[in-house]
C-alpha cells in the first residue's frame, strides 16, 4: 500500500540553520557580514582591495575568499594588511554556510568590524545559499551588459545593493546605467544602486557611507 505524506520543508533548511547560527554569532560580536557576489571579472577583488585600504584606519576588516582553484585573490587581499582566508571549492560553483563556518576558525574575530565573504564568481548559484550575511551585495560591471538583472533576476532580487562597477569604461561600452537600474528595481524596489569605479576610486564614498551606516546599525 502506497501512501502520500505532506512534508513541506525548505530544501535548503540545513544550510539556513547554519546561516542562522553564523548570524547570531555576528550579532553578538557586532560584526557586519557582507556576501559579495558577481560574475567572474566584475571586480570584486579590486573593490575589496580599495575598500580595505581606504577604510583601514576606520575599521578592522577580514575577508573570506571563495575560489574554485587558486589563492590569487586571497594574496591580493592580504597584501592590504587585512586578514584573508581562502576557501577552495574544488570546482564548486558557490559557497555555503558550512564552508564559511570552517573558514571562520582561521580568523581572529575579536574586535572585528566588517567581514566580507567574496563568493565564487557566478551570477546564479551563489544567490541560492545564505552564508550568514547581513546583506548580499552584487557587483555588475558595465562591460557585462545592462540586461544582466533581467537575465539573472534572483540574484538582484535578494541583494540589498547593486554596485555598478567600472564606470570609468562607460565612454567605450554600450551600457545604460538607467536601464540596468530599472531592470533591477523591477523585482526589488528597495535595491540600492551605486555606480562606482573601484579602479579609479570614483564615487566610492557612496559605498563607504553605506558601509558606515550598516556597521553603525549593528552596534
Amino acid at each position: 500500500m502506497s501512501k502520500e505524506v505532506t512534508i513541506v520543508r525548505n530544501v535548503l533548511e540545513a544550510n539556513d540553520r547554519l546561516a542562522d547560527e553564523l548570524q547570531n554569532n555576528f550579532r553578538v560580536k557586532k560584526i557586519l557580514c557582507l556576501n559579495l557576489m558577481s560574475s567572474p571579472g566584475a571586480g570584486k577583488t579590486t573593490l575589496l582591495e580599495r575598500t580595505l585600504t581606504d577604510l583601514k584606519d576606520e575599521f578592522k576588516m577580514a575577508v573570506i575568499e571563495g575560489d574554485l582553484q587558486t589563492d590569487n585573490d586571497a594574496q591580493r587581499v592580504a597584501a592590504t594588511g587585512a586578514q584573508a582566508v581562502q576557501i577552495n571549492t574544488e570546482g564548486g560553483c558557490h559557497l555555503d554556510s558550512g564552508m564559511v563556518m570552517d573558514a571562520l576558525k582561521a580568523i581572529d574575530t575579536d574586535g572585528l568590524d566588517i567581514l566580507f565573504v567574496e563568493n565564487v564568481g557566478n551570477l546564479v548559484c551563489p544567490a541560492e545559499f545564505n552564508v550568514g550575511e547581513d546583506y548580499k551585495v552584487t557587483l555588475l560591471s558595465v562591460t557585462e551588459g545592462d540586461d544582466k538583472p533581467e537575465k539573472y533576476p534572483f540574484m538582484f532580487h535578494i541583494s540589498a545593493v547593486m554596485l555598478l562597477n567600472k564606470t570609468d569604461l562607460l565612454p567605450y561600452v554600450d551600457f545604460d546605467l538607467n536601464k540596468a537600474e530599472a531592470h533591477a528595481k523591477k523585482l526589488n524596489k528597495d535595491i540600492q544602486v551605486m555606480p562606482i569605479s573601484a579602479r579609479t576610486g570614483e564615487n566610492m564614498e557612496q559605498w563607504y557611507a553605506w558601509l558606515r551606516k550598516k556597521r553603525a546599525e549593528k552596534l
Partner: protein, 118 residues
C-alpha cells in the same frame, strides 16, 4: 550546476523523514520549484537521476511542480501572475516597477510517497 548540491540537501531531508517510516520504501518525492528560485528543473531532474541509482532511494521518482511568479503591484496592489519576469506590467494600472513578489521564490519538498510493500 548548484542543482547537485541541492539534490544532496533533498537527500538529507529525506533521510530524516524516512526514519518515521521504518522498513517502508520511498517511491516518490514531490518538489515545488518557484520560477524565481534560480533552480533549473531539468538540471535538478538530471542530478536526481545521477545520484539516486544504487542508493537507499533507488527507483524513487522525483516530480517537480513549477510555481509561477505571483506579484502584488507596487502602485495599486493588484495581484497578478506576469507572463514572464522580464517585463511585468500591472494589468490594472500598467505600473512596471516596484512589485512585491508573493510566490515563485520557494524551493520546497511538498510531499513524499512511501510504500510498505518492499
Amino acid at each position: 550546476m548548484h542543482e547537485m548540491s541541492i539534490v544532496e540537501s533533498i537527500l538529507g531531508i529525506l533521510r530524516e523523514e524516512m526514519v518515521k517510516y521504518d522498513g517502508q520504501k520511498l517511491t516518490k518525492v514531490t518538489l515545488k520549484n518557484g520560477q524565481l528560485a534560480g533552480v533549473v528543473t531539468e538540471s535538478l531532474q538530471f542530478a536526481w537521476e545521477a545520484l539516486i541509482p544504487g542508493g537507499e532511494f533507488d527507483g524513487a521518482e522525483l516530480e517537480i511542480i513549477e510555481v509561477p511568479v505571483k506579484v502584488a503591484c507596487g502602485e495599486c496592489g493588484e495581484v497578478f501572475s506576469p507572463d514572464h519576469t522580464r517585463c511585468m506590467p500591472c494589468p490594472k494600472c500598467e505600473a512596471l516597477l516596484g512589485h512585491t513578489v508573493l510566490e515563485g521564490k520557494e524551493l520546497l519538498i511538498d510531499s513524499i510517497e512511501v510504500d510498505d510493500q518492499q
